[in-house]
Symmetry: C2
Subunit: 385 residues, 2 copies
């Protein structure tokens, strides 16, 4: 029996449903952040982050910091780029806009290469943009939570190494790490930032960032100091290195309970990382087929740019989210409303990540698809459609 | 019976022991950060923060953000002061040094008024310093966790209003909020920053900042934009206002489980805020008397500058923390080693905050005092002292 009070199933693109063991770790008794027991757990958790990223390069460096996913943007923007340098944002929705604002806050000159809603820019367009200016950093949102558009991280990274090898490749993986394949070393990425509450399956409150040796080098060879204290790589680097070497170290008190929960979920995930990506792809295919069968279109237009951890679904003409979400809730299922400003009233978002996908005994996905079908029928009838 | 696995009693100056109900809130099932249930809890939690600060002025504004206490320094430094403006740091230990570094990161000209170890500057010295320059901000560490020195927040605030009324009074209350009296409105403070894991009695992972109308006004009338995105008051202000008005709003995903835990502990604390300060003062007096009876001196020299939530205790000549802490641990009690660089090997720190103080049935304080006496005797015998 679950330790969790019976509740509606949370199938939004994060936070997601939690495994009992993860929630149990959240109520770990009080521990000193510098006691041997916690130091070991934090150190192991950092090592587990490497595994999720399929990284074995010792020059790569994971960071786990108390904060929301958003803090990862500050970590990148405050350390990897200096005032007046150029950043190219491959923009596939809401989160590209915001990442750009964060980069500008730290003085970057930001160019947005904006794809049409539901699509991503082609490699040819990216190549063209890269040739027009010298960019210190290129950013891409692996999965834009607002649209469910999947970026071609591997393809873009290869392209960058070919045409602009010094440019740092930064991936916003908030909605992808744990559900989409990422081979950090093999793809030669420089930073992937994420949060705990999406496909990683831990409650929100942790900013997790993986960086390459090249990125650390860029942070360390800045001409100007970073203009953030809490998001300074220089302040956190010795802490992360020490904990992973089983040595206590202090810059700010780590969120001990959340770190325990992260340790628990990463231990589960890293049993078989490729299998985790495969099951997310398989369940995603099933969801997308069911959505098509209902006669519905996805916001992400082409199959190759559709995420595997969420599906953004256009509603039938004449319906808005408020017509359908209550019918889902009545059936015990929570989806999210639209988020992209220009189309917000036209679509809903279904998150299929973590235990809802990996534990078929829960029946979450089948129940959700049945509920979606019924709620849509009901809503159409109510509107006389 | 407690839900917690039997464990050694954590009596360091944070994190501290947790009430069962608080830990139970940490394992709350998955919830959307914009669902009505969570919006209500977050909104109420913000209102409870006002109560802890005994504040009823609607112009005052609480912030609750995923992060360590350190993030509060960034919130102050990035928003309340501009590049080239002056900050006066009343420095009573380790945390004054670090707050100064954070202010400098954001371009402030920092002057430290450094008290001797274990003491605080007199009001006359502060007045003298305030008359030498025009300061945008004055900061003081209410309780310096490294030394247990208590600052005279009320006295300094009164002084500032008299001799430099435009200067913003900023209090680092990481080790004081919940154990030391703070009357935010009455004392006319501008910002008090704290964290969840000390006298507030919640697991670490939340930065909590209370600001005055004057502080918000200063942030909003800046000539230059703040150079932080995640620590920008402009980005968070509408979110906090909306949640407290029971409206969902998005800038970054709040740490839903930690917010539940904070709600639980603040509900307990705000039943009677003055009574909470009184019990901490009473238990602190008892600890200090017992320490004196053992023939030991405190790092905080004079009674009026001794904190009520912790005691920093000089060890007898010839002993270092590593001689005594294992003896305490053997008896189920965890104290902290010294932290202040110049005297680190000479003292230990005993945190007496939260449930260990407010729930005498636990016997935490009495057990700790007995353990301290025994561990000292044992250590002296072992060293032939």
């Amino acid at each position: 029996m679950s330790i969790q009070t019976p509740h509606n199933t949370l199938l939004i693109p994060g936070p997601i449903e939690f495994d009992d063991a993860v929630l149990q770790s959240m109520s770990h008794y009080a521990e000193s952040h510098v006691a041997p027991g916690f130091v070991k757990v934090f150190g192991e958790t950092l090592t587990l982050v490497r595994k999720v990223f399929q990284s074995t390069n010792p020059a790569a460096q994971p960071f786990i910091i108390a904060g929301s996913g958003t803090l990862g943007w500050d970590l990148v923007s405050a350390n990897l780029i200096e005032r007046g340098e150029n950043a190219l944002v491959l923009n596939t929705g809401y989160f590209g806009d915001s990442f750009g604002q964060c980069l500008e806050t730290y003085g970057a000159n930001v160019t947005h290469l904006k794809a049409p809603i539901g699509d991503r820019s082609s490699l040819e367009e990216v190549e063209q943009a890269l040739k027009e200016k010298s960019y210190k950093v290129i950013t891409l949102t692996h999965v834009d939570t607002s649209t469910g558009v999947l970026s071609d991280v591997k393809g873009v990274a290869q392209l960058v190494r070919r045409v602009s090898p010094e440019t740092l490749v930064v991936v916003d993986g908030v909605c992808s790490v744990g559900s989409e394949e990422i081979a950090f070393d093999e793809w030669d990425l420089d930073a992937v930032l994420t949060a705990s509450q999406k496909a990683i399956g831990c409650p929100p409150g942790l900013s997790i960032v993986m960086t390459s040796g090249r990125a650390i080098q860029a942070a360390q060879s800045r001409k100007t100091p970073p203009s953030s204290y809490y998001a300074s790589i220089a302040n956190w680097l010795p802490i992360m290195k020490n904990y992973e070497n089983n040595k206590a170290s202090y810059f700010a008190t780590p969120p001990t309970q959340l770190v325990h929960a992260l340790h628990t979920t990463l231990t589960q995930i890293t049993v078989d990382v490729p299998a985790r990506f495969a099951i997310h792809a398989k369940v995603s295919d099933k969801v997308k087929a069911a959505v098509a069968e209902l006669g519905l279109k996805q916001v992400a237009s082409r199959p190759e740019c559709q995420a595997h951890g969420m599906t953004a679904i256009y509603l039938p003409e004449g319906l808005v989210p408020a017509d359908v979400l209550p019918g889902l809730l009545k059936r015990g299922v929570i989806f999210a409303a639209g988020l992209h400003k220009e189309i917000a009233t036209k679509y809903i978002r279904f998150g299929h990540m973590g235990v809802s996908v990996t534990d078929p005994k829960r029946g979450d996905i089948d129940n959700a698809l049945t509920a979606l079908k019924e709620a849509l029928t009901e809503a159409k009838q109510a509107k006389g459609l």
